[in-house]
């Protein structure tokens, strides 16, 4: 089993080494960022309250520090699982068929499904490890960015940190494996896998608002509360009870005090529901992985070597 694992990793060494190197560089950079944010925050504690820098002012008013750097770098962590999934998953079957070694490989193995499992599991495990690393690093950066806020009770930067990165890698890997099984060439498979991963990422970003029901926001909120929660688009509730979207309402009247539009209700998902959102997304992505996995096995059985 060990030899089989090493053989698989050797056959896909280019993908494996590229992914490990990329994640290592990203992790080192982000841990350095987290360290500098912590130092800056510690410096703010010792500063004269009457003479605070912009960064310390942001920390005292909103509870965050280093917004520019974090907003530039953390989204890279958010898209990394999709790229990992594409680079690790797409070539597994596509490369065998392109190099015309599939006939030999599949005929030597007891079954194509056994061959697939032997080829895919080591790379999937590698990708999971790298995703776990990214999940931890993302959380470390978020905790340094917002030191006074409990990251496990905050939806800020939800898709760029934490366990959700691991589940998203799993989906991206399975979809890329499926794409690679359908297409006979590595290059088109990679391109389609990256494009599909981009579409999935774009779809999952707003989906956060659907995993749990948003709650109405009653009364003014502090900047920290606003930072922790996930805002959902407000709606106008007309006097007759019908609802109007914000854009439609503003197209009628850009002001906010037109009686015909009714009252503006703001909704948000509180940060305390972070774990619920993560578990529900994980359940849906696990189901998606199972379905796509079944599709991969069926497509592989029907594929000609």
């Amino acid at each position: 089993m060990g030899r089989g694992l090493l053989l698989t990793l050797w056959l896909h060494r280019v993908s494996a080494v590229t992914c490990v190197a990329a994640v290592a560089l990203l992790s080192i950079g982000l841990i350095g960022l987290a360290g500098s944010l912590r130092s800056a925050a510690a410096g703010c504690t010792a500063s004269d309250p009457a003479n605070l820098s912009d960064a310390c002012l942001s920390l005292s008013l909103v509870g965050t520090i280093g917004d520019d750097a974090v907003n530039r770098l953390l989204p890279i962590v958010g898209i990394a699982p999709f790229l990992l999934g594409a680079v690790l998953g797409a070539p597994i079957v596509a490369q065998e068929r392109e190099r015309r070694t599939a006939l030999l490989a599949w005929s030597w193995s007891p079954s194509r499904t056994r061959w697939l499992l032997a080829s895919a599991i080591p790379l999937f495990a590698l990708g999971l490890l790298l995703s776990v690393d990214l999940a931890i690093v993302g959380d470390v950066v978020e905790r340094a960015h917002a030191p006074a806020i409990d990251a496990s009770r905050s939806l800020a930067n939800y898709g760029d940190r934490g366990p959700v990165l691991v589940t998203r890698f799993a989906v991206a890997f399975m979809v890329s494996l499926f794409v690679g099984t359908l297409l006979r060439r590595t290059l088109p498979a990679l391109v389609v896998a990256v494009a599909t991963g981009t579409v999935i990422a774009a779809g999952l970003a707003p989906a956060t608002a659907f995993w749990v029901a948003p709650e109405i926001v009653a009364g003014p909120q502090s900047p920290i509360e606003i930072y922790q929660e996930r805002m959902v688009e407000p709606v106008y509730v007309r006097p007759d009870g019908t609802r109007l979207g914000l854009e439609d309402g503003r197209a009628i009247d850009p002001g906010f005090d037109n009686p015909a539009l009714g009252r503006l209700e703001t909704y948000a998902i509180p940060g305390s529901r972070y774990r619920d959102v993560v578990f529900r997304e994980a359940a849906v992505t696990a189901l998606l992985c199972a379905l796509v996995g079944a599709g991969v096995v069926l497509a592989l059985r029907r594929a000609s070597p």
Binding site: V14, S15, T18, V87, P91, Q95, E98, R99, L183, R185, T186, L187, P188, L190, V191, V192, A195, A202, E247, R250, A251, I252, D253, P254
Partner: protein
């Protein structure tokens, strides 16, 4: 003609993917133009400086959402070039057909031009059309200014997309010739293309910054590029200089394309076919 057909046939999967991508982008462009037309419908005719009641907010929201379309167009141009360029040499070496192919061809450079030129022409034409489409979309999103007098989405529309596609093609060719394997060549080419995009934008903005005008108390003219000098004071570049910026970016991209194409050709001539 038959050589061109063979070359296009060898690249049919990549060209088919590029075609599908172009169709999808064209569809999205059409949707954006329709939505923009619907947003400004309450104000027939060109929008004045003080626009109509209720038009500003939906149009601004559409402009914000359209950033993804322009980014996708830029990524498409680079990806299409890389997709065509990488397999030209890398596939031949990886398949084991390079030794025979190089021996049969009159010269390796002749073989390269026969393989590369037809697909490159197709990609150049496709991205030129995409450039016109993206300029049209930009014009529909800001009808009061026009696409050639605003810095909105600089480097993500227009003729510069052709430069990106050809640069991507050259990068892919060089990486494919160096590695002789599709996958590592593709990964390196993708990284280099991203670095090129970043460098071109930085150089262009730096060039414009060197002659930016100080911004007084008045609002900058519409379509201007807002910058700041070393003292942090706001400066701006008027939209009338957009053409200059596009020429600079396209020229730099083409210069990169030509240099990397020469380098790739040099590697191919000296490379062992296995």
């Amino acid at each position: 003609m038959s050589i061109a057909r063979i070359a296009l046939g060898l690249a049919r999967r990549e060209l088919a993917l590029a075609g599908i991508g172009a169709i999808l982008l064209a569809g999205v462009a059409g949707l954006i133009v329709l939505q923009a037309a619907k947003a400004i419908a309450p104000c027939p005719g060109a929008l004045a400086e003080g626009d109509c009641q209720g038009v500003g907010a939906p149009l601004l929201a559409l402009q914000a959402r359209s950033g993804t379309f322009f980014a996708a167009a830029t990524a498409y141009a680079l990806a299409a070039g890389i997709m065509i360029g990488v397999p030209v040499v890398a596939s031949a070496i990886e398949d084991g057909t390079a030794a025979w192919t190089f021996a049969v061809a009159p010269a390796r450079l002749r073989w390269l031009s026969d393989r590369l030129v037809p697909a490159a022409v197709v990609i150049a034409v496709a991205t030129a059309v995409l450039g016109l489409v993206t300029d049209g979309v930009a014009g529909s999103l800001d009808p009061g200014v026009g696409p050639y007098s605003t810095f909105d989405w600089l480097g993500q529309r227009g003729v510069v997309l052709v430069g990106y596609a050809l640069a991507g093609l050259s990068i892919g060719l060089l990486c494919g010739a160096l590695f002789g394997r599709v996958l590592p060549a593709l990964l390196l080419a993708a990284f280099l293309a991203g670095a090129l995009l970043f460098a071109l934008n930085a150089l262009t903005v730096g060039w414009l910054d060197s002659s930016a005008l100080p911004l007084g108390s008045d609002a900058p003219p519409r379509g201007s590029l807002l910058l700041s000098d070393r003292q942090g004071m706001p400066t701006y570049v008027p939209g009338s200089r957009y053409g200059e910026a596009v020429l600079i970016q396209t020229g730099l991209a083409l210069a990169v394309a030509v240099s990397l194409l020469s380098a790739g050709s040099a590697v191919l001539v000296r490379r062992r076919p296995d």
